[in-house]
Each structure stands twice: as C-alpha cells, then as structure tokens.
C-alpha cells in the first residue's frame, strides 16, 4: 500500500530534477554565449522553477506539518535531494549544457506525457501544463544538438566529448526506487522502465542527424535517486541555499 510518505518522495524525485537543472541553467543568466541563447536558457530555467514550485506546494500540502515550498527547496540536506546525477553536472561549456539539457528534455517530455494520465488530479494538471513548456525545451535542445554536431570541427568535437561524458548518467533516469514502485502501484506514478526504449530511439534519431554517436558503454553511474550525489552537488546547494541559511525565514 502506498503511504503518504511514498508520494511525497515520489514528488521530490520529479521536482528535484527540475529544481537542480533550473539552478544550473540560471547560473548561466548573463553568461550565455549569445544574447538569444542566454535568454532561452534562462527562460527554460524559469519554466523549470515554476514547475518545481507547483510540485513542492503540493508536497507541502501532503506533508501537512506547516512546512512550505521554501522549506522543501532550501532547507533539506544533500542526502534528502532525490534528483538524478545528470542534472547536477556542471556547466562546462555550451555544448555540455546543451547535451545535458537534451538528454533530460527527451526523458522529461516522455515522463510528463505519461504522468498526465495519473489518477492524482494535481500531478496530472502539473504534467499537462509542463508538457507545453517542455516541448519547447526539447525542440530548442534538439535543434542545438544538430547545429553543434553538424557545425564546425570544434563544436562537433566538444559535443561528442560531452555525450561521451554524460551518457553514463542517462540510465539512472529509468531506475525505479521503492517509492516509485509504490506510487506506480497506486496508479499515480509512472513506470519509467517502460520509457527507456522510446528514449533511446529518440536520442538516436537526433544524434544521427547531428552526425554524433552514442558511446558503447556497459557501466552506468547511479545514486542521485537514493540521495547519493556527485561532488558537484554540495557546491550547487551552498549557492542555492545561501540566502535561507544566512537569513533564516527571509522573504522577498
């Protein structure tokens, strides 16, 4: 039987991905390689943070212990964040940012398309709203994968290196935690294992057009969903949580 706690953790899983990726993208505000890409990336960050708020508000309501969306976003410790390792990887260069985004967008859209059929009305509503936004994200990152891959010698090389580096984090997207299983059984959550085939196919289609390749690897890195993060996460959180930790209960 699904417990309230399972559902809250399930929501954290989805929302934390959006929060952390949104945080990574917002680090680029004012630092994008061109004005257009700068604006596009920060707008995507805003979409992701908006979605995060809807999920956290709902989680806070389910917790019912007086905690707010801000407490959930800013006052948990590293081990309590359930995001996948992929989204916390740093902004090494534009090709890296786009590859990370592309790998997540393809998954994100597939996930929301399933989540919109959830028996839980709130999650279904958040998913439906998110689909419209994430479709734009996927279009943006797919276009850029093609431009970079089929671009100059330099852009191709850097993007292929980013793929070689980041591909090992993609398998975790399709891993089901105990919470995920309970919430799926209750017909509220999504069985992400069923999305893997379509995911690989969509990624491959874009990469082929971009003249890029998926590396042949057998070992994939996991841990984020269990709260075991890479060394980058601590730095990211210290940035993210700085204001609330320094000035407790501060408001805009």
């Amino acid at each position: 039987m699904m417990k309230n706690e399972n559902l809250v953790h399930y929501i954290y899983g989805i929302a934390d991905n959006a929060l952390i990726l949104g945080q990574r993208l917002s680090e680029l505000c004012g630092h994008g390689p061109s004005l257009e890409t700068d604006i596009a990336l920060t707008n995507m960050a805003l979409d992701l943070l908006g979605q995060t708020r809807s999920y956290y508000q709902y989680a806070a309501q389910l917790l019912g212990d007086g905690k707010t969306e801000d407490d959930i976003a800013y006052l948990r410790i590293e081990r309590q964040y359930k995001n996948v390792l992929l989204v916390e990887q740093p902004n090494k260069h534009f090709g890296y940012v786009i590859t990370r985004q592309f790998f997540y967008d393809v998954f994100h859209l597939l996930l929301l398309q399933e989540l919109q059929n959830s028996k839980d009305e709130t999650l279904s509503a958040i998913a439906k709203k998110g689909i419209k936004e994430v479709s734009y994200h996927q279009r943006f990152s797919s276009d850029w994968m093609k431009r970079l891959g089929d671009g100059t010698e330099e852009s191709r090389k850097k993007t292929q290196e980013a793929i070689n580096d980041l591909w090992k984090f993609t398998d975790e997207l399709f891993h089901m935690t105990e919470d995920d299983k309970q919430v799926f059984e209750a017909e509220i959550g999504v069985d992400v294992t069923t999305l893997k085939q379509l995911y690989n196919q969509r990624v491959k289609e874009v990469l082929e057009e971009a003249t890029l390749t998926i590396p042949e690897i057998k070992w994939f890195q996991k841990g984020g969903k269990q709260g075991i993060h890479s060394e980058h996460m601590g730095y990211l959180l210290s940035d993210l949580q700085y204001m609330q930790r320094t000035y407790p209960n501060m408001k805009w």
Binding site: I39, N43, L46, L48, G50, Q51, A125, K128, K132
Partner: protein, 167 residues
Amino acid sequence: MTIELENHIDPMLFPILEKVHDPEIPVLSIMDMGVVRFAQMINSVAQIKITPTYSGCPAMDVIGEDIVEAFAKENIEAKVSLVLSPAWTTDWITPRGRESLEEYGIAAPLEENADKEALLNNKRIVKCTNCGSVNTKLVSQFGSTACKALFKCEDCLEPFDYFKCLK
C-alpha cells in the same frame, strides 16, 4: 471537462477585475488575458481563482497581490488562489486583448499550425506590429519573457515580440 468560464464570474466583480493588469504587459487586463477562472462573493469575501499562463510566470504573484489591492480599494476582502487545470491557452485571450497587444507592439498569437510554420519552418507570416509587413524573420524562440518569441521586420527593420501560441 471544460468549465464555462463566464458562468463562474460574477458580473458585479467584473469592473474591479478589469482594473488589474498584467504587470509585464500593462495594456492587458487580466480579464482580457483570460487568466481569471472564477470570481464569486462567498460569505462577503471575493473568492478569485486565477490560472498561470506559464508555470514560472513571475507575474502571477504580482497579479494575486494586485487583485487583493483592487478589491481592498472597494472595501471588499478578496482571497486569491491558483488553479492549474485546465491549463491556460492563448485562445483565452479576448479579441480586445489581441488588439491591445498589437497596439502595444506585440504581435498576437497565430493559430496553432501557422504558429509552428513561423517558429519552426521560418515561414514569413508574422505581421510586423510597426509597418504591417509579413516580411519578418524569427530571431529567437524566446523573447523578453517565456511566452514571447523575438522577431525582426526586414522591411522597416524594427525588432518586435511575438506572443507564442500555447495550446
């Protein structure tokens, strides 16, 4: 299930809601924007439900505060809550809202297929808000806010925002 929007808005409250404008597009009232989903007096409190245009739209918090303030001026207490379903679509922008957008310099959303042609296939169909020419070019999928794309007119050379179709 779609709810008939008008049925749930008390006409008495209309004039007050009309006074509240989108902080990022000040020519547009929230009624013309189509974000008000419900407005009724319940036990002497105006209960207002609004729906966000985009999940992360920072204007929503401000709109909520502005509604409370607009009602306070009439000595009415108002409570604002956010509803997510059904999701907002650009179809809910009223004809008058579309006109105000264009006058303000933002091209109003095209219908879904035309929108895709303009944004994905670079078809020149978005009308310049300055000179009316359709000889316009997409500069960026995202403009000054998430809901807009940036275009440039190749006749009068004026850059302008296009309000993207959201379905």
